[in-house]
Symmetry: C2
Subunit: 222 residues, 2 copies
Amino acid sequence: MRDAFHEDLDKISDSLVEMTRLVGSAMSRATTALLDSDLGLAEGVIENDVQIDAIRDDIDEMAVQLIAQQQPVATDLRIVVTALHMASSLERMGDLAEHVAKVARLRYPHKAVPPQANATIVEMAQIAERLVAQAGSIIAAKDVDGAEALHADDDEMDRLHRDMFVLLVDEGWEGGTESAIDVTLLARYFERFADHAVSVARQVAYLVTGEWEHKRRVGAPA
Amino acid sequence: MRDAFHEDLDKISDSLVEMTRLVGSAMSRATTALLDSDLGLAEGVIENDVQIDAIRDDIDEMAVQLIAQQQPVATDLRIVVTALHMASSLERMGDLAEHVAKVARLRYPHKAVPPQANATIVEMAQIAERLVAQAGSIIAAKDVDGAEALHADDDEMDRLHRDMFVLLVDEGWEGGTESAIDVTLLARYFERFADHAVSVARQVAYLVTGEWEHKRRVGAPA
């Protein structure tokens, strides 16, 4: 039978999984809004970001209640602090999806992404969504080693990010400077979203084990 | 006489002030490295970011020890959670200074910022450094209303950010696409650094009062 601490921790964990689902959906819709120049969809993503922020606030409050009621000792306390950091990262991922939607809205009815860059943006978005879905599964399954499997996608994202800059400065770039600026920022949003997803997945290891030292090796994305 | 909880909290607060000092110094040196194309200075900023990350880890650990030893009740617990969020924001500000330094290193021995954009970058850097210095003073003085005074600088940063984009897409832009990309990202780094500084300063209000509701109105930068 689970003790009260772990039952409360499971509720926080469920909320983290819910956040991964919501930020994944937000990024998916933001990308569609971007590529199809769909104003309504973009505005929906922007408006719904408050829901993601609200869950993060709920997790803060659940953590405070858990600590006050269960008075966990050192290792368990570190686990709760880790959960707070994960919620922070997920909230920022929601903000990044909102930023993508805002670029779509800014350029509507035009398309922010020129045809030349479409394929790379699509690939970046697919990897970003896959990474956050995997992070959600890893949290739900308490899969301590699951983050190792994300390396390939993370490396691929970094490669796409570099490819995009090569494309932007190539003399064959047809989008002009304004599009180059938009695409520069969009590529950064997807890349950072992926970094945060990997960071969240890696933190599951010490969410489960409470091994604080693990964290110092992992680091957090900028 | 201060009780043990507030004595421990003061130590965390001192570390937060130290972080503001370090990230302000990092951004100042990164900007000099950028504008003077000073490779050694840029590499120093990049190498020293681990010190900022280490203080953030120390604050996490101090918070865990404080909670375990003092077992603070609801409002006091919320204060500790707020301190953790502030440390997170400050660590990210350190990362942003590191990003500026990395652009300087990438373009060395050339200058990443073309002469046309120099003045705006200098202004953005000055505001960023002023905001983080003020955030430090506000934490040190427990100045609940101090963040109000940051509005003018924050608005000015947003104006400079918009001005920069106008400059970049102007047909008189002499820097080419590569420089436009560099300057786009640099402008975003300064603007986000400033946003985080304002967010940190605003959190002092509920660091001091423990009024959780205040936070929901304030929000966090993306």
